[in-house]
Amino acid sequence: MGKINVATDTYLVGMGVSPGIAIGKVNLIDQRPLVDQSLINGSEVDAEISRFQQAIDQAREQLQKIKKTVSKQPHLREHLYILDTHLLILEDEMLVEGTKKEIRALVNVEGALTRVLEKLRALFDSIDDEYLRERRSDVDAVGDRLLRILMGVSERNIDKIGSSSIVVAHDLSPAETIQMDRSHVLGFITGKGGRTSHTAILARSLDIPAVVGLESITAMVVDGMTAIVDGFSGVVILKPSEKTLQEYLIHKQSYDCLEQDLEQYRDLPSITKDQVHIPLRGNLEISSDVIQIKKHAAEGIGLYRTEFLYLGRSAPPDEEEQFQSYCEILKQAEGDPVTIRTLDIGGDKFVPELNLDDEANPAMGLRAIRFSLHEEQLFKIQLRAILRASSCGRVRILFPMISGVAEIRACKKMLGDIQAQLDKEGISYDPDLAIGIMIETPSAVMIAPLLAKEVDFFSVGTNDLIQYFLAVDRGNEHVAYLYDPLHPAILRALKMTCDAANEAGIEVCICGEMAGEPLYALVLVGLGFHELSMNPACVPRVKRVLRQVSKQDGATLVKQLLLLSTSKEVSTIIEAEMRRRLPAIFAQPPIQ
């Protein structure tokens, strides 16, 4: 694969999935080696087979060594089975006998093994179930290990990561991630992946900054290249200039220093100087994130994404399983409210007769509430599970992607029907369950006063709102620069939403990335948001700011911002204002 030439100070923007700043040397987890395939003579067969046997022995030793290291780390023990799987694959008859058979057909061992791996790959590719199909990666990992041994190429350098490394890979398998010496890993950058990818989850639980979704990253870096990873904004800077490096080093130092100071805020309430309580809640991407929510003392869960219950399986979770999952989280929330959002993706894989693969514009297609209302049976199962769970804690239900009043009425009607049914069956639920909607489509903003009459709360999802409002696909590198949270149109949209909620006397929460940015905290409170929900790791930082500002000052600032014409002017004023008010926190201009 050709390398892309990288200039000094190359800025890239991916998805920041684990906050923090890391500066280090790239350690590229490289691609698989090219295999030398050749034909052999009959007289060479025995020698090739014995080479194969030796490679298996050596691979077994390597794996057992890794297993021993991993088993000493208690938090990784539950992942040990991955290495057991690799050991079993190594001895598997399909792999071992298959390869020997190819060797006897006069192919060298590398060629024989490659052919067998290709056949196995094709077999795995034909599996319908996405999760089981993905096990192919374990077979590949074992094959790769054997090929490297046979060809004398050093192991994929996962367990040999140098100190102060920024690990860069197209993708990291769970097996690979747990083998890393994490005392050496400062940050992660991957080409693939999203918020719930294994790398993202692991990085969050280890507090290692990570940026994912940078498609061509592996072609841009070489080992030893300096890289900066900003896990807050998703920015990656390759080959930073001396000036950028200095700026970021100072940025990082003050960040680290502030980080130590943060601990004192953990157990303090989130109250502004003028005594307004602004609950800071956590977003739950996947159930294990509940640990982060406790760790950073978030007040409950402002956004429980239920998608992960549906991913990686061939049949949707049934009512009982969902009920158990919701109750488990509610139990851990210990009385704090938990906002459960109904399915926010297209779930067409559970509906065989529905083929959405060729939707020209999936972001505007049959997804979220549209999918749920289309597939009533699936939706009813989820609603029943949520209602039942409302008897085990403080549940609020949230419907995503509402674009008109009819949709929320349809949802409420279904909820009412199910409540009546539960009454009949004598099953308990919370009759006062709060009902809310996501405000993320432009139409919902425009009719916010009408929607406010229908529900108990609004939750603004800024990531989607910004994309739909500005007609920008953030994942499209050609237009991503237009994605701008401070666009005057976005500020007006947020203002309209908050005004409508406040006039109707309902709660309004914000749960996109904007909510977790300390720089925006004053503005958001000034706009009229009652609560902020964010990546739990951001909670202490936002709280520190909130405790030192007043809602009144925020309202004054917002008035001023609404008079400005460009986002550049908006950001300049916000930065100057925050620096003036809280110089210790915002002394360094954020690096753009």
Binding site: I89, L120, D128, D129, Y131, R313, A315
Partner: protein
């Protein structure tokens, strides 16, 4: 020969963790162990075979054990599958 039918009840089906447990258990016995799903038969001692059988939650499979220690082997396999591989 012992033969028994099962429905896979653990959430993720015969995925890597469950498959590994099954193969590890199967390999402790001398008996031949076969898993059948929809006329596809695989060796119960081969992890690749079991993974390729692709048996998610709700799949019906049958297990055949043949050999001197077949009774004990079937007992252990039954426990594993019916216990959902200790997943919950």
């Amino acid at each position: 020969m012992q033969n028994k039918s099962f429905t896979i009840r653990n959430r993720l089906g015969l995925h890597a963790r469950a498959a590994a447990q099954l193969v590890q258990a199967a390999n402790k016995f001398d008996s031949e162990i076969a898993l059948v799903k929809d006329d596809v038969e695989v060796n119960g001692k081969s992890i690749m075979g079991i993974l390729l059988l692709a048996a998610p939650q709700g799949t019906d499979i049958s297990v055949t054990v043949t050999g001197a220690d077949e009774e004990q082997a079937m007992k252990i396999i039954t426990e594993l599958i019916e216990d959902g591989f200790g997943e919950d």
